[in-house]
């Protein structure tokens, strides 16, 4: 067979090809930045050059029609350059302040509001959900859309005590790595997987499947004279790792999959060290297309935080100051046995002092 003419291992294009001239000129020589209005960043270079970045919301799932629209806007307002952020916002890079308003208007006409800066809620980082994922316990884009429709004022304003980062993952694999967010919304499975014994020998390797279980709940077994497995239900924590290595062990369940909410994580080192999000709401039902229970639970947490936290205090810093008992009281979220860790190192999370508020 002839080897076709093809290039491999060329890697991504060099970033310099994609940098606007003002960025190339002032690369590494920026003096400071400020936020003159919500959704607009002003970076001032040591040279005195000014760069305005207009940040627009994005559903992350973008049609090429929209990307072409963005390219047209970049040509019209930014000499043909734009960028995306680590939270999937799109940013238009302007040198002419007068072009900000017309650009914002065109973005609004296309349905892309400007905001997500400073003490605000930025884009929700999220996963694929039912649009594309095999192990999702819920949809991603639909829940995110429903939450952000409700929290929209906090995207276009900057009235929160500090920035508030929401992330969404549709199962514990957490492609969105939501585990260090101010509010993490996480799809959960709540029952052990169902085994399709006819398919196991066809599509899975039993030893790999047994080894995949972090709690040792899976054992080899012979079912109907064919190699398969059995699951010790009490040991299963519904992580779905077995499903990822063997599609015949089905973790998805229309009746029992749902959504949990976690709070108080952060990745920045500012003030408090980075920390994990902790469980606030163990389970809410999957209720498409608008997930009202989830939306209202998230909104409640945001509102209570906005009302009670001090300036610059992130969600986790606020909760650490007031204590978890008060968090549950203020938010009126029921505290249950599910909030108490029972996995490895669970004991480190028990309160072992008499320092309590009464």
């Amino acid at each position: 067979m002839a080897i076709p003419d093809r290039k491999t291992d060329i890697g991504p294009p060099h970033y310099e090809k994609h940098l606007p001239p003002i960025v190339k000129k002032n690369y590494g020589k920026w003096a400071y930045h400020e936020i003159p209005e919500p959704g607009v960043l002003l970076h001032v270079a040591e040279s005195g050059d000014k760069l305005y970045s207009v940040r627009a919301a994005s559903p992350r799932l973008l049609a090429i029609t929209t990307i072409r629209n963005f390219a047209d806007l970049a040509d019209k307002y930014c000499d043909g350059y734009l960028r995306f952020t680590s939270r999937n916002n799109v940013e238009f890079l302007l040198t002419d302040q007068k072009k900000i308003e017309p650009l914002k208007k065109e973005l609004a006409d296309l349905g892309f509001p400007v905001g997500g800066m400073g003490n605000a809620i930025s884009n929700i980082v999220h996963t694929q959900g039912w649009v594309h994922c095999h192990s999702s316990a819920t949809d991603a884009s639909g829940v995110v859309k429903s939450i952000m429709d409700e929290l929209y004022p906090h995207f276009v304003d900057m009235k929160l005590p500090a920035k508030l980062r929401i992330a969404f993952a549709c199962c514990l694999n957490m492609c969105g790595a939501v585990h260090c967010s101010d509010i993490a919304v996480l799809g959960v499975h709540t029952r052990p997987p169902r085994i399709d014994h006819a398919d196991v020998p066809k599509v899975c390797e039993v030893p790999t499947l047994v080894a995949s279980c972090p709690t040792g709940a899976i054992r080899p077994a012979t079912v109907n004279d064919k190699p398969s497995i059995e699951i010790e239900d009490e040991q299963c924590m519904y992580c779905g790792n077995c499903y990822t290595v063997c599609p015949a062990v089905k973790i998805n369940n229309a009746k029992t999959d749902g959504i949990s909410i976690w709070v108080g994580g952060k990745v920045s080192n500012a003030r408090h060290e980075p920390m994990f999000s902790k469980l606030a709401v163990p389970f809410l039902p999957n209720n498409p297309p608008r997930w009202p229970e989830v939306v209202s639970a998230v909104k409640n947490i945001v509102e209570v935080y906005a009302k009670n936290a001090r300036k610059h205090e992130r969600m986790g810093e606020w909760i650490e100051r007031i204590g978890w008992p008060r968090f549950f009281k203020l938010t009126d979220i029921p505290f249950t046995r599910y909030h108490i860790d029972d996995f490895t190192h669970a004991g480190e999370t028990f309160k072992r002092s008499a320092q309590l508020k009464h």
Binding site: R6, T8, I10, P12, P13, H14, H18, Y27, G28, W30, Y32, E34, L51, A57, S58, P59, L61, L62, A63, I64, T65, I67, A71, D72, A74, G80, Y81, R83, G111, P113, V131, S135, S136, D139, G142, S146, D149, Y152, A169, L172, N173, M174, C175, A177, H179, S212, C239, T244, P247, A254, V267, N269, R271, P274, F276, P288, P289, K311, H312, T344
Partner: protein, 397 residues
Amino acid sequence: MTKKKTPATPLLDELEKGPWPSFIKEIKKEADRPMVQDLLGVLERSYEEHIGHWKHGGLVGVMGYGGGVIGRYSDLQEEFPEVAEFHTYRVNQPAAWFYTSKALREICDIWDEHGSGLTNMHGSTGDIIFLGSKTEALEPVFKKLTEKGWDLGGSGSDMRTPSCCVGPARCEWACYDTLNACYDVTQNYQDELHRPAFPYKFKFKFAGCPNDCVASVARSDMSVIGTWKDDIQVDQAKVQEYAKAGVDIQKEVCDLCPSDCMSWDGKTLDIDNGECVKCMHCINVLSKALKPGKERGATILIGAKAPIIGGALLSAVFVPFLEMEPPYEDIKELAEAIWDFWGEHGKNRERVGEFIQRVGLGTFLDQIGLDPVPEMISHPRANPYIFFQDEVVEGAQ
């Protein structure tokens, strides 16, 4: 190709309403394609039934690569044949996600011709995601991408596509050139990126300062976080301007300093720099007046991951301070030492952070040739079950 009719999607249509950009509107923008019509059909079914309809698995990809394409199949193939195969490409993004409009149009044209016309800008690890391709389109798309200077990113048990913050391109706080480091490492390890040979995935993320805008401490096996060693640069006149403009320097800056290393007498902000832990808070609040020091580099932390399998981890300090100059030999040496040991002894689907917990950080450091330093821990062990090595105790056999 017969043009199918867009299916009725009453549940999805609900998600076209409201002020936030709608992914359903996005999908419908490409709904003249039969594949997208079937995608809407499958998705509406999921909304009716509360369950996903995608199957993973099946080895698909482009010739010579083990990563970069994620195989995906519908479990409703007879009803929705156009999405029976619905694979995704990961296309390696340019560092810090800057694009010319010309490049964006080139990418769109390729995807217009061969796929669903739907993308993610971007995927969680940072790649451009082409969402929904038939197997037969994989090679042609790859060829067209590479002709235009693009390549695929990572997937599976390989080095995943590195990503970085906006860095010196547009941020005064960048303590090293995150774009250059990201590009250099990506180019240097093309084989590791495209041909899975590790126990599991390995991610790099390059953050220019401790604000960590790419969440490297939570999301990467090797987190490279910019920092500095010397004194914070202070413009006292500008600090006073902030005070005059209404910023309560004592309350908003000094009182929130985690190491209590600042004082303010109404005129001068005094910083005991030896006590500063480089958290960025004061610099964030007083952006015109304060800047990171001049002796800049990065802290290298290892081992972050999401919960699957053994629980979520944040990265842990390995090298408190490293100068970050091209060609980044120290970073590469450290990464390769880690890959050697973990590659040899790591279990299937065991991230390096989990591996370190299993073998012990002490053993891990011995094996990769790094000396223990107190910056690596939050406190020394409190339990007395110490595994002494023979040479530590005089007289031991």
